[in-house]
């Protein structure tokens, strides 16, 4: 059995935990930072966090699985999120979805083979007045059209890794 201290990312994760304080109440901010740094919360990372907070790894996993923004499998360098709720539907999000899927060759929920881009449909993020709304990582785009989505993706693909 591998000791927790021997997990490769141990030092890095310990730093994040200590920045927030090794306290259960800081679990979400800790996991959020890990996700930002590592793009996902790996089972090993969850184990380190659990060890440092003195809780069972299962508790960490159950929190990770609960929240949409925390993921335990890797995502692409770029995560494209398109709003799928009613207001954006009325504004034509379905056409944009088709365009993105065609351009990337993946379906919603999937990551491109080169691990560059993940495409997700997510629930309302409060831009219903300026929809269809889309996010690429933390960047927000409004009044998106299929053409605009196409251009944005071309830019990402050109930037590459």
């Amino acid at each position: 059995m591998q000791l927790v201290e021997e997990i490769p990312a141990y030092g890095e994760i310990k730093e994040i935990v200590e920045k927030h304080g090794a306290d259960r109440r800081n679990l979400l901010p800790i996991l959020s930072d890990i996700r930002k740094e590592k793009k996902f919360v790996s089972p090993e990372a969850a184990q380190v966090v659990a060890h440092l907070l003195g809780i069972h790894p299962v508790e960490v996993n159950s929190v990770v699985s609960f929240y949409h923004f925390l993921n335990d499998t890797p995502k692409g360098k770029y995560v494209i999120r398109l709003c799928k709720n009613v207001s954006c539907m009325l504004n034509g999000k379905e056409e944009i979805k088709k365009e993105i899927e065609k351009k990337l060759g993946v379906r919603a929920g999937e990551t491109t083979d080169d691990k560059l881009v993940t495409f997700e449909e997510i629930n309302c993020f409060g831009l219903c007045d300026v929809g269809p709304a889309m996010m690429i990582n933390e960047e927000v785009y409004t009044h998106v059209t299929p053409q605009k989505a196409n251009e944005l993706i071309s830019e990402i693909l050109a930037r590459g890794k």
């Binding site: 959020s32 159950s62 709720n85 539907m89 629930n123 993020f125 007045d129 300026v130 933390e138």
Partner: protein, 391 residues
């Protein structure tokens, strides 16, 4: 200069003035003004703010918390985004006032993860308030310490429910708690806690400056003041409007420049859908009570598409703790899909209405209690279209 116009929240305001006024008043005076204003919670449940603050002020504890609920996840709602983006002074001064009244030292803004792009500007704003001594130690020299920090949600609609929100703040899954006990006595870390919506708190400085009596002159008999509504869908001018309670749906539609209409969903996914014959109804706690989401559908739209979308949302967002909600929403979604294929006759609907009733009665939190609303209202109000294929 702010570009918006409104009678209360969107009216002229000098940053800091509401808070200065608050500290000229005693805690009792503030509670009296709020009681006179009859301001009720704008997060959906409509609980009187004066009562909530009074109960928390009266609770004996060495520690108390004031939480501003900025989880705003109801599809079709974006007014809190506008307040945080354009009127942070109102929200934060409302929070400090609340802390002062209930005797809390810590305020938390629970900001939904989807709004993380507002985080740095909000933190800058708080820093500015600290520099002006509107926040932090010995605020305005009055001997009161209070600070605010921002907690970023991680994507879960149910975390807008106040006890799920508290669970989330404690580092857990956002699963709603049984109530009672209520947060006013047993909230965050078991301490007395006020949870208020962004808009509720943003109204407080204006009430203190101009008086509860002045505020109560707006609105209707049972619904005082104004409401921010988030209008989206099939219209020329979507956006956030400040309107007096009592405004009719028809008047709202005129504001929004909406034509050729079939339906309006009032209150977001968990609200109800009305047809043209009901456009004379009023926004008010005594008629259409709402957190303020208005989604407009024109005559081209298929209401079952909309309903399917709403039910998919609830299936995904149910926390899964209790059976009526976890299973019930799935069953209702299946029914919608069957209806789309013409697979259920009108006579087959009774069991689904019974299920909806069970969900309303037996679900643990507001999510499962209100998720049947769009189902029941769309199936009832658009029965011709759904079962007799007139379109």
């Amino acid at each position: 200069m702010k570009k918006r116009n409104g009678k209360i929240i969107f009216s002229e305001y000098t940053p800091g003035s509401g808070l200065k006024k608050a500290f000229e008043l005693s805690r009792q005076d503030i509670l009296f003004e709020l009681k006179t204003s009859q301001l009720r919670g704008r997060g959906g449940a409509g609980f009187p703010i004066a009562t909530k603050w009074m109960l928390t002020a009266a609770a004996k504890s060495d520690e108390k918390y004031l939480i501003c609920n900025a989880d705003e996840g109801e599809p079709g709602t974006f007014k809190d985004r506008v307040l945080l983006n354009e009127y942070p002074e109102l929200v934060f001064e409302g929070m400090v006032t609340g802390g002062y009244v209930i005797g809390a030292k810590t305020g938390i803004l629970y900001l939904r993860g989807e709004y993380s792009y507002l985080l740095s500007q909000l933190n800058d704003f708080l820093e500015g308030m600290r520099k002006q001594n509107l926040l932090g130690k010995n605020i305005l020299g009055k001997g009161f310490d209070f600070d605010i920090h921002i907690f970023l949600g991680q994507g879960a609609y149910v975390c807008g429910e106040e006890t799920a929100l508290i669970e989330s703040l404690e580092g857990h899954r956002g699963e709603a708690r049984n109530r009672p006990p209520f947060p006013v006595t047993t909230g965050l870390f078991g301490k007395p806690t006020v949870v208020n919506n962004v808009e509720t708190l943003a109204t407080v400085p204006h009430i203190l400056l101009k008086g509860g009596e002045w505020y109560a002159r707006f609105g209707t008999e049972k619904s005082k003041g104004t409401k921010l509504v988030s209008i989206s869908g099939d219209c020329e001018n979507p956006g956030v409007y400040e309107v007096e309670w009592g405004i009719t749906i028809r008047e709202l539609l005129e504001l929004a420049g909406a034509k050729n209409l079939k339906a309006v969903q009032v209150g977001g996914a968990s609200g109800i859908c009305i047809d043209e014959s009901q456009f004379g109804r009023k926004l008010a706690y005594e008629d259409l009570a709402t957190g303020g989401s208005i989604i407009i559908f024109n005559k081209e739209r298929n209401m079952l598409d909309a309903l399917e979308n709403f039910m998919e949302f609830f299936v995904e967002e149910s926390c899964g703790q209790c059976t009526p909600c976890r299973i019930g929403n799935v069953k209702l979604l299946e029914a919608v899909r069957q209806m789309k294929d013409g697979g259920i006759p009108e006579s087959g609907m009774k069991k689904y209405f019974d299920l909806a009733e069970t969900m309303k009665l037996a679900s643990k939190c507001g999510l499962g209690q209100s998720s049947p609303n769009p189902f029941v209202s769309i199936v009832k109000n658009f029965r011709e279209e759904i079962f007799h294929k007139t379109v």
